[in-house]
Symmetry: C2
Subunit: 197 residues, 2 copies
DNA sequence: ACCTGAACACCGTTCAAGT
DNA sequence: ACCTGAACACCGTTCAAGT
């Protein structure tokens, strides 16, 4: 990449981070380009989609999350490691308001620039979940996709101004559901779970 | 209302229901007006905001939900009544893709045309929750706003194509958290809950 | 190589002018 | 009373023309 191109790339990224932090993930790309002092077409040439821009902004965080998952798997109890990592994920996914909806779409859209990061994140979560399940610390009727979905839902709740004050508490509520070791996967339907045959 | 205005009103509403069912809640109002054969300004005169249009579309469902809450409170066990009603809520909030985000914003925006419906819905849920809590069937550290938030989160999950296949299962997971009678409100932090002093 | 202005087809808002 | 076309200020996409 040419020196002037590199400079544009980095400057646009810095401005985009500031604008998206303020206005959320649907911020006007034209506005970002304007504030960065480049043409809109230049922004689009460096980051061909909104997802590509977000992935560039979050790449470092995603890598940190993956590294953290590896460390937690050896340094903490299966239960603590899982919950602590989930909290980190929610915090990360909340960094830019609205990004979690893009991530939900990206997880099964191989064309999305966010796809690889989301898949990696789900895989790291799946490993921590499996470890907790093997230790009897997490319910066994959920998988990595469910975990990703629950994290996404919690991040979404944090994005909504009306729910933000309760989002930490709601994290605990959902976390307790994940940790409930052998909780009935038939919480309703049958009023009282029948004894195992 | 004049007869021709009434006819426009009803026809626009019918077309809007079809278009929003197909394209979600961010469907182009211009497109709706076009398909209804009226000017965009006419649509805006009948429904001054997107929320007003949605409220008109969902009004019947909201009223049904309130009525159902009353019936369930007398005809079913506290636990069954709560879970059954929550399921109805999620189904309702999923009728139009994306509407749950508008509802989340409307619950604390008194100016929104959806505000009253959301507040009524939260109140009905709060009553069913209190009944279940009094019966020892629901955890006591959540309130009506938390319940509204959890329903919204589940509806949001159902809106995301990648999570839709698991949305029923995720409902059960979250429902089990709500029903866990005296589940620790400190699921993490302390690894093992200390004995009550 | 890299950048950019301009044209394009959209969007929701607003209002003067019509019936 | 009610309706509407048109002007307005936006949006993201695309590309021919410049350096």
């Amino acid at each position: 990449m040419r020196a002037d191109a590199r400079k544009n790339h980095d400057h646009v990224l810095a401005v985009a981070g500031a604008v998206i932090t303020e206005h959320g993930v649907d911020a006007s790309l034209r506005d970002i380009a304007r504030r960065a002092g480049v043409g809109l077409a230049t922004l689009l040439r460096h980051f061909p989609t909104r997802e590509a821009l977000l992935d560039a902004l979050l790449r470092t965080r995603f890598d940190e999350l993956t590294a953290t998952a590896g460390e937690l798997a050896t340094s903490n109890s299966p239960e603590d490691a899982l919950v602590s990592w989930l909290r980190d994920c929610v915090t990360c996914a909340r960094e830019y308001r609205g990004v979690v909806a893009l991530m939900a779409a990206a997880i099964e859209d191989a064309e999305s620039a966010l796809h690889a990061s989301c898949v990696t994140m789900r895989a790291a979560g799946t490993r921590l979940l499996a470890r907790a399940q093997a230790a009897g610390a997490a319910r066994t009727d959920i998988d990595g996709t469910d975990l990703f979905a629950l994290v996404a839902a919690l991040a979404w709740l944090g994005d909504q101004a009306s729910f933000t004050p309760r989002s930490d508490h709601l994290f605990d509520v959902v976390a307790s559901a994940i940790l409930a070791s052998a909780e009935s996967s038939e919480a309703e339907g049958e009023r009282r779970p029948r004894a195992r045959s």
